[in-house]
């Protein structure tokens, strides 16, 4: 009897917002819980194979997302947890993915455009602003924010680890992962002891 639950963690957000970074940490967190078979469909990688040749028109973008959703659905229904990390800028096609995939967790990786332009890890924003890249989401192409994502990550305010923790907590809440007691460093008693020590010393 296979009780293992498949699910899809669907990251959406502008280029450079942190989708890939956080998805890798989530993958590590799942592995730490003994879930070794996590598949990751990273947008940049998918475009070099599954969606090779597709461009960035709305139609091509929708096709790309539908293909990713198709694979995610196959994995999910066969009990394989998976993570999709693509910009997926259009709400309609994300909603399509949500309908197709049974256990769907939408994670909105939010980051203000001016922060992304400043960060510009891949150097793409500079090119897009200079007009060297057409149809660039956030600059010359629209991005439609999710209305009801399961998790919102604010990558300019949180560390990637904290963001990953939020996602794992949501997976627990939704029953995709068994709840484990918080693996804090201190037991309750120890924490009280340290707190008392620091209070006595005037630190708190």
């Amino acid at each position: 009897m296979n009780e293992k639950k498949g699910f899809t963690i669907w990251f959406t957000g502008l280029s450079g917002a942190g989708k890939t970074t956080v998805s890798r940490i989530v993958q590590d967190r799942l592995r730490e819980r003994g879930i070794m078979n996590v598949e990751v469909l990273d947008g940049d990688v998918v475009r070099t194979n599954l969606s090779k040749g597709l461009g960035f028109s709305k139609e091509d973008r929708d096709t790309n997302i539908k293909r990713i959703a198709f694979v995610c659905n196959l994995l999910t229904r066969n009990g394989v947890p998976n993570i999709a990390a693509a910009i997926s800028p259009y709400r309609e096609v994300r909603d399509y993915a949500r309908q197709e995939i049974k256990n769907f967790i939408e994670v909105y990786v939010k980051c203000p455009l001016d922060v992304l332009v400043q960060r510009d890890v891949k150097g793409l924003y500079k090119k897009a602003i200079a007009g060297e890249i057409a149809n660039f989401t956030g600059v010359s192409d629209p991005y439609e924010e999710p209305l009801n994502p399961e998790v919102v990550i604010e990558s300019e305010k949180e560390t990637p680890e904290q963001s990953a923790d939020k996602i794992v907590a949501k997976l627990e809440e939704l029953g995709y992962l068994p709840r484990v007691p918080k693996q804090g460093v201190y037991s309750e008693e120890e924490e009280a002891k340290i707190k008392k020590r620091l209070e006595d010393l005037g630190y708190l």
Partner: protein, 464 residues
């Protein structure tokens, strides 16, 4: 500059330049000799100048905003009770010992704050006072504790019962802790192979906080010719003797540093931050507590509260923002305005006699290039750290001169100490004191001395 084979750091938590460099230098012959033959200067701490995050800032050369923690306890979410301890698990940046361990260099570490729980290193580690007790795993490797305990019996992580009125007992405990730590340190220096050795002695901080009023004629509670008048001096003389013994164990290839994470100054009193916020209309209670209670136990009317504050040697103020805190009331568009308003009012705070106390209010985004984790909304140094922050509710006053949760003798100060002596290079004598030294300079200086490339994201400079 020739490279050193080894670097040895003696960390003295809280050691104040005014006492060591000036007031008592002639009575500290070993320290004086290092200063005369090496370089020294005041070392500017991080913001805030508190043990956690300061030692980690020093040894990673990263600011608290980058590290993502701002004190011993930090908000882990935007709830009203989400403060969690900043243990070693929260340190995601490489410290000097991580870099050296990866390169196969051998490290020995004793008592460096924020190293509990212990992480593997290429060498030996005894954790710090944030370890619950010696029943916890306080060494790396785990069985190294047997060697420590074989040498000193019960190793002392920190003094117990700091708030005791029995000052003789407190002094005995501080000495016993320090004696054991130096005994272990000297043993390790002699018996282990190491390229990098670092110890941090907490006794300095403890004796300052517990005994400052006895030795500072300007302290409100100072009494001339009291029996503890020389307690801090005698302790410093004892430390100096221990430093001398360590110096006798090392060769001329070893560069020695003596550093502190921040300094100290007399404490004038406490500002009851939450009482003040209530008086100014920023904080509302559901019901008045019977007596004095910690803030966490008070019943707060969050729907009518704009801000609350944390106690400690400095204060952190948090705003109750709509869409961020569970029952936030400040509209996002009004956030900056409320902060500005608070800043202006806090900076106008006076002592009981109508004299402005010189409070400094800092905004995290102004002092840190990035603010990872959840920073406080305001960082407040009451009286530029001459006044502590009292978080409790029910004191019915803004100023207090009695204990609420902590001793009232000394507070932290921004400048600690830096001494570096390199015997192999004919000393490092340069006109000292040097100025402009920062806590972030220590890690790059250590790596450089050991001939290791300094990572480009370290924030400090190499002190030469």
């Amino acid at each position: 500059m020739a490279k050193n084979k080894k670097v040895l750091i003696i960390g003295l938590d809280c050691a104040a330049p005014g006492l060591i460099f000036d007031r008592w230098l002639d009575q500290l012959p070993n320290t004086k000799s290092l200063m005369e033959r090496g370089i020294y200067g005041e070392l500017e701490s991080c913001i805030p100048p508190i043990t956690v995050p300061a030692w980690t800032c020093m040894m990673t050369s990263k600011n608290p905003g980058k590290l993502g923690f701002y004190g011993f306890r930090n908000r882990s979410d935007y709830s009203y009770s989400g403060l969690s301890f900043a243990t070693s698990n929260l340190v995601k940046e490489d410290a000097v010992w991580d870099i050296l361990s990866r390169l196969g260099k051998r490290v020995v570490m004793v008592g460096i704050p924020q190293t509990y729980p212990p992480k593997p290193v290429n060498g030996y580690m005894i954790t710090c006072f944030l370890t619950p007790d010696t029943k916890s795993q306080y060494t790396y490797p785990p069985d190294f504790r047997d060697e420590v305990e074989g040498l000193v019996g019960n190793y002392i992580l920190d003094v117990d019962e700091f708030r005791t009125e029995d000052k003789d007992q407190l002094l005995r405990e501080i000495y016993e802790m320090t004696e054991k730590r130096f005994k272990v340190a000297k043993h390790l220096i002699k018996t282990k192979e190491w390229d990098f050795f670092m110890m941090v002695e907490m006794g300095v901080d403890r004796i300052y906080h517990g005994f400052w009023k006895y030795c500072d004629p300007l302290h409100k509670k100072y009494e001339p010719n009291n029996r503890y008048e020389n307690s801090i001096l005698e302790y410093h003389k004892y430390l100096d003797q221990q430093i001398g013994e360590i110096l006798s164990l090392i060769d001329d290839q070893t560069c020695v540093l003596i550093v502190s994470d921040h300094g100290a100054q007399r404490m004038e009193g406490g500002i009851c931050v939450n009482e003040w916020l209530m008086r100014e209309g920023y904080l509302t209670l559901l019901e008045k507590p019977a007596g004095i209670v910690p803030f966490g136990k008070a019943k707060i009317d969050w729907t009518r509260t704009l801000a609350w504050g944390e106690g400690g040697y400095y204060s952190r103020i948090f705003l109750n923002v709509k869409g961020r805190e569970p029952q936030g009331v400040i509209e996002k568009a009004k956030y900056q305005q409320v902060r500005e308003e608070l800043k202006t009012k806090l900076e106008a705070l006076e002592d009981g006699q109508g004299k402005n106390i010189g409070t400094r209010v800092l905004k995290p985004e102004d002092v840190y290039p990035v603010t990872n984790g959840i920073p406080p909304d305001l960082i407040v140094y009451f009286g530029n750290l001459r006044w502590r922050s009292v978080g409790s509710i029910g004191l019915n006053t803004i100023h207090t001169f009695e204990n609420d949760t902590g001793p009232d003798d000394a507070n932290h100060a921004e400048k600690g100490i830096f001494v570096l002596y390199d015997p192999g290079n004919g000393g490092t004598r340069k006109p000292s004191p040097l100025s402009g030294l920062r806590i972030y300079d220590i890690a790059p200086t250590v790596l450089h001395r050991l001939g290791v490339n300094v990572p480009s994201d370290m924030e400090g400079k190499i002190i030469q």
